[in-house]
């Protein structure tokens, strides 16, 4: 598949570039981590940890950098939707969603999953955040409970990105707890995944963070000047024609 090959190549390239950057600027990189949990309709779970250098990334970037195969469709200014994740469904339905199950999107908040208010291209992840996807039909079917620490390890600055694959027995899928504060699922078996086992992908980082720009005065001056001009024009017209 050319897409995954290209993704792997570009991710490897990005990883190499990031590694070079990290090697030359060892102090600069405050590496952040976000976790991604994907649950198939069969019940099998995939968990990935993604390291990034920016202050925040979007949910779509998280999926993109995790190396998991995906197909997204853009809906203009509304944003993008995930149509296919890790080869499920096997073909992308027309109109992205189809009529049956679809990829539902959740954020980890506290000890549970919460339905995302935004699409993947608008949601924001910072260091220590976690996103969950589940292929299901019907409301509030959250992925199984996975703690951030079990995906990305305990929060320590020296932690390198790790990949963890979690599997649930398929027949246990219906008994999954739904967004409750139950203890995390134990990580037992390796799940076969249709996505490439990318070790390099997980260290991919974005471009280094730029220093914040000083606030530009130009737009403010333009706005203030135009407002004053309009007020003066209104005053002239009021004077000429009487109130």
């Amino acid at each position: 598949m050319t897409f995954t090959t290209a993704a792997r190549l570009s991710a490897a390239g990005a990883a190499a570039m990031a590694a070079a950057l990290l090697a030359t600027h060892p102090v600069h990189a405050a590496v952040h981590h976000a976790a991604l949990v994907i649950q198939h309709s069969s019940g099998s779970l995939i968990a990935r940890c993604v390291a990034f250098a920016e202050e925040q990334i979007t949910g779509l970037q998280l999926v993109d950098r995790s190396g998991v195969q995906y197909e997204a469709q853009t809906f203009g200014s509304v944003g993008s939707a995930i149509c296919q994740l890790d080869r499920e469904p096997s073909t992308v339905p027309s109109g992205c969603f189809g009529s049956g199950p679809y990829w539902q999107y959740f954020h980890r908040q506290g000890g549970g999953w919460q339905t995302s208010a935004f699409g993947a291209s608008s949601s924001v992840l910072r260091d220590g955040d976690m996103d969950g996807w589940r292929y299901a039909v019907g409301p509030n079917l959250a992925p199984g409970n996975v703690a951030f620490a079990s995906v990305c390890g305990p929060p320590s600055p020296a932690a390198t990105a790790t990949a963890t694959h979690v599997a649930q027995a398929p027949n246990r899928a219906s008994a999954l707890p739904v967004a409750t504060a139950t203890p995390p699922t134990s990580l037992e078996a390796q799940a076969p995944s249709a996505s490439p086992q990318a070790n390099a992908v997980l260290t991919s980082t974005g471009p280094p963070r730029e220093p914040p720009k000083p606030a530009a005065m130009g737009p403010w001056l333009a706005f203030g000047g135009m407002a004053i001009l309009l007020l003066a024009l209104g005053a002239i017209n009021l004077r000429r024609r009487g109130p």
Partner: protein
Amino acid sequence: MIRHPLAWGAWTAAALAAAFIDRNPYLQALLLLVVINVFVPYRGGRRAGTWKFALALALVPILFSAALSRFGEHVLFTLPAIPIIGGRWTLDAVAFGASTGLALLLTVAVFGILQTTVRSADVVAILPRPLYRAGTTVALALAFAPKTLAAFQSIREARQLRGQRTGWRSTPALLLPLLLTTLERALQYGESLDARGFGSGRRSRYRPLRWTVPDLIVVIASLTAIVAIAVLPAVPYNPYLELTPSVPYPDRLLAVALLAVPAFVASLSRVDHAPHHA
């Protein structure tokens, strides 16, 4: 002063494009200032009649958004678990409602200006020949409703002056004079159309409407503004993502400010107190 209906049509299209596309509060505030500026010289002694309606349209979305939306991070207060309105009331939702309400207010205000400035006789005058008869009929029919309403009010006032009751029980006593007045006006319309030779051969023109330089300036400015608003990248405003709006770039501000050209033209023209816009 701008009089040509097509110039006002171009201005309305540009102002509506700005009102619909720009959701940035700074641009909306500038557009509101522009609209007020254009209204002032062209109001012609009329008072703004629809401002209460427009204000209600602007306030209702704020209430709805604040009461029904539970998203956002800036919590104002939390209500107990009452159905529908219980839960967190957020500043983000209020800002979203205010942004939507301002867009509605601007839309109503732009149409209010179009209604104030364009005379139906001018619109009929520039209609192409195949549409002339239908246009005249529609214009007469549209003018009939406000005239009937005015007749109704004057009949009621006359009854009040005579000391008669004005409740809903007086409706039959009101309807008969109203019917007679309306029939009389219809006959008058027919006679005046006849006297002007309506529908007999070539269409005559009395004081034809000409394009003036200010009209052309307004059309050019409006078209430029439409293109700029549609082509330049819009400055989105989503209070749920970022409550503080960003200041738009000067080019987009300039595109909105171009819409103030009718007010500018009016400030340059000679003051004319003759009531030919009656």
